[in-house]
Point group: C2
DNA sequence: GCTTAAGCGGACCCTCGGTCCGTATAGTCG
DNA sequence: CGACTATACGGACCGAGGGTCCGCTTAAGC
């Protein structure tokens, strides 16, 4: 295959851009306020470099999001107990949702930016499909559970970035309270026995986790 | 109060603009493709008239949405059986969600436009607060139901325009199938007895309803 | 060191939301 | 019915921001 490895300065610049974008988005409170020119300036590169490396604004945000999400994804596909594949379905579904919620709380602005940058809504973005497939697959393994496809969509909708932002930011709902509410809600959807405690999921990298 | 009634031509133009916007949004498949200039041209007025009458793009879409939603709102606040206030909580909650889903299906592009036009996410828009307050209030009357505030948010998230659009449009899920799935999901959240049939809610105006 | 192609960057372009102000007219009063 | 004025019209204009282009720079192989 024609995979050519990029020049050293290109790689360095790519990192600088991602880092600058992350910082800018995290600091301004409306992600739309961060312009491509801002990012280029903050990273110390020209606009051309941004667009050559990422295609367009959506591509840049997407790449950044993907990079930050990677640890969580890893924890889900091959990680240890609560998130990993060995966990029994009910508990794992709750852990997945909790981890996703924590991630969105920890990367509030970035997640928000991703949703509003998505040219055609979050749906159709690769990472959404992945979450949906994963969650849906887990639900399917719950004995007697039906409609797992729609249920997965609906549960994921409950942790959408703008809703999370609205509740945590505008309405000052604390992290713990939010997690508890979500667990309560999800538990009801999954049916079966009430959980005997907090789910405690979430990966440590990037600050995600109970905090 | 200084409520002056508008000049006749102003009122006529206002209607023309709403009508043109509705038509354009419904026909193009990405609402963002419809520009303010397009709408002005289609309505046979100048851009100035648009902005004078509605403030900005968000205001225009909002006004249009509000106008189309009015019948549903009416049916909820003072209408007859399934949607009206006299209905027992569980059934009414299901009817509300079903009506909202039907509305979003019937006004897919408009709802989509509203969500992506909202300067700061759907949350914080007046109509969302109204739906949330209403649904949350209904849930509260369910005996033994807890966390109705969050549950209302989560349930409303399940019928967000872009998700509905994704399922109905991109994934070709039929109207009836979608309604059944939602009813199933919501039923699980509400707990209690399984419903004995379709909820059948939705107002007739504007084409909303079982179809 | 020399060559070369990968990479750089910022001037430039275009679209689109939003503004402004000179002109036209609906509504009113004598 | 004609004059007067507040209201509204509309399109030229503006600024911002995403995205492009091309002459210059420089890393990397020989």
């Amino acid at each position: 295959m024609p995979e050519r490895k990029p020049r050293a300065d290109a790689a360095r610049n790519r990192e600088a851009v991602l880092e600058a974008a992350d910082r800018l988005i995290a600091n301004r409170d409306r992600p739309a306020q961060v312009t491509m020119a801002d990012i280029a300036a903050a990273a110390g590169v020209g606009k051309g470099t941004l667009f050559r490396g990422f295609g367009d604004r959506t591509g840049l945000i997407h790449a950044l999001f993907e990079a930050r999400l990677e640890p969580v994804r890893q924890a889900v596909t091959e990680g240890p107990h609560p998130l990993g594949p060995a966990t029994p379905p009910r508990e794992r579904a709750l852990a997945l949702l909790d981890a996703l919620l924590c991630f969105k709380l920890d990367h509030r602005h970035l997640s928000l930016a991703l949703e509003e940058a998505a040219s055609d809504s979050p749906y159709g973005a690769a990472h959404y499909d992945w979450w949906h497939a994963t969650l849906s697959g887990v639900l399917e393994r719950l004995p007697g559970f039906t409609g797992s496809d729609f249920a997965a969509h609906a549960l994921l909708a409950a942790v959408r970035a703008d809703l999370v932002d609205h509740l945590a930011g505008r309405q000052q709902l604390s992290r713990e309270r939010l997690r508890a509410q979500l667990a309560d809600f999800a538990g009801r959807v999954l049916g079966g026995p009430a959980p005997d405690g907090a789910t405690g999921g979430a990966v440590s990298a990037g600050g995600a986790g109970p905090h």
